[in-house]
Subunit: 326 residues, 2 copies
């Protein structure tokens, strides 16, 4: 690709720092490719990060997360703040390339120098999606974006990991999101910080908001009471109110000391998560490249060796972890 | 606990093999406690496993999975087959101890020697829930259970891993399961082998079944077309039909060679999954017990050291994995 050789660590660092879109795009591509240059750039810029407020926007597909993000970006830009958007939701129009469709009017943001939008494919990342997303977040932070939105679906392993790196979690639901309501009720879904019930024109929207409210009311010990906002993202309705609640959450995080605690926890979880993803990658590659270890898997399949004995053998040979029952 | 010392590897192996409930219960408790005796028992019995047909019953909370399992158990017992049930769904009445409530009439099965029911808490397992569930499955298989049902919610990391060990996946939905429909549509949720739309009395049940049907119809390359069955688990309606479809899937697995392929894949995934969970446990413990490594996490929090450099350092020190960019 032309221009590929033009970037050095120095020009990338300087470019990202100055908020240059091409530098940022190139740096994130290098992250996705697992290029050592990317690590060097992030290593250099990391000291300058931590200023951005990150917002995870999660919820089932089809509830209008992308449209809501579009509306939030529009709102935030009017307040003269800059924004980065990372979409890791495979069902999102940000991610699927349906971006220029007139149904979702995001094109205005693509031309705006104060907005940087990037989708991350959910497969094929060396070291995992979570690692790539964190690096992209850090680069956008270093590039001076005030707000960084991460769009993700609320289900699945990698999505849960991705949402674990943000300061504030916004859950988007709509009338018909019965499964999510049940999951909240059963305590299977984490309680978010702010909830939007989108498609407020729907006759069942208020009922749904009340249902969510009554579930959250059971959790009296929670210091921060997650606000519930009705929105109609396609028309921008409720968006200013939603943003006010997000801002309240940020103010709460800062005044309560929760921001530091949460970031400490998120960063530690992320370090262990990325380390584990890499360890797994190393494990799989080592086993695949070693006929003796591959034979262990065959023996498991043939019911000659039980799976846990195979696990013990593999861990001992690859990582020198002694068997627990030794 | 009384009787604890009475069990040896030999008596446990013999007890499980003969289908003795107390031996099976004790062996699974040992699995949950990470007791080396459990590994030895599974190691001895593994050659005798692989005969049972395992069915994963998944779906959002509140759709009636447990009631449906109760009805399936009832049906299967009439066919004179034996059954094991493992519940890893924290919202399940099997798991929550609400078992003896008269709303869900499972007590009959507790007294039936041909049925063994066990719930697995979703936290606190050494090596992960997936490991414990696999071991429990193997023990029930060795105990001669013809059918083993694993109940799990269809979201979250550990649940996805758990469902990865079964032969046949049954997804249970109900009218109102809009989020699951959207997730299927968006390709975010794996296509199951059989689908039950429970609460067929609901006016929207047929609409939902049709919606699912039209989503599945898009996937023309799939050799096995997942059947959709309307059920009313509380009254046992549709259960015989559902069971017939499950049986058809088992027959398909066997005749197509897919059973062997799927089990090979599941076992390999499980070995890597369990090995990774243990590697992570080892990693976290090592870092927590080593002041120098703990200091790396503090440096990340203080924005002095970027997360990936911390990851590299930790992987090198704990697992001797060389940095990728070296």
């Amino acid at each position: 690709m032309s221009g590929r050789r033009d970037w050095t660590k120095e020009t990338l660092v300087a470019g990202v720092r100055s908020g240059d879109k091409r530098a940022l795009a190139r740096a994130i591509t290098l992250v996705e490719n697992g290029d050592p240059l990317a690590y060097a750039v992030v290593g250099d810029l990391y000291r300058e990060t931590g200023r951005a407020h990150s917002l995870g926007v999660t919820g089932p597909p089809g509830v209008g997360k992308s449209t809501l993000i579009g509306a939030l970006v529009h709102h935030v830009r009017k307040l003269e703040e800059t924004v980065g958007v990372i979409s890791v939701d495979p069902s999102s129009p940000f991610t699927s390339g349906a971006l220029l469709g007139d149904r979702i009017r995001l094109t205005e943001h693509f031309l705006d120098p104060g907005v940087f939008i990037r989708s991350m494919g959910s497969r094929g990342h060396l070291g995992g999606l979570s690692e790539a997303t964190l690096q992209a977040l850090l680069m956008m932070d270093a590039a001076g974006k005030d707000r960084i939105f991460i769009e993700t679906v609320g289900a699945g392993q990698s999505e849960v990991e991705v949402i674990g790196i943000v300061d504030t979690v916004l859950l988007v639901l709509m009338p018909g999101s019965g499964d999510s309501i049940q999951a909240l009720k059963a305590g299977i879904m984490e309680i978010p910080d702010v909830i939007a019930v989108n498609k407020m024109d729907h006759p069942a929207a208020k009922t749904m908001a009340n249902e969510v409210r009554s579930i959250l009311a059971l959790d009296r010990d929670r210091e921060w009471k997650p606000p519930i906002v009705l929105t109609e993202a396609a028309r921008g309705e409720g968006v200013a109110d939603l943003w006010a609640k997000i801002e309240q959450h940020r103010a709460y995080l800062e005044s309560s000391g929760e921001l530091e605690r949460r970031r400490r926890e998120n960063l530690a979880r992320e370090v262990f998560g990325v380390a584990t993803a890499r360890a797994k990658e190393h494990l799989v590659q080592t086993v695949q490249g070693n006929p003796d270890l591959r034979r262990l898997l065959d023996a498991v399949q043939a019911r000659e060796l039980d799976p846990l004995s195979a696990v013990r053998e593999i861990l001992e040979q690859v990582f020198h972890i002694p068997p627990r029952d030794a």
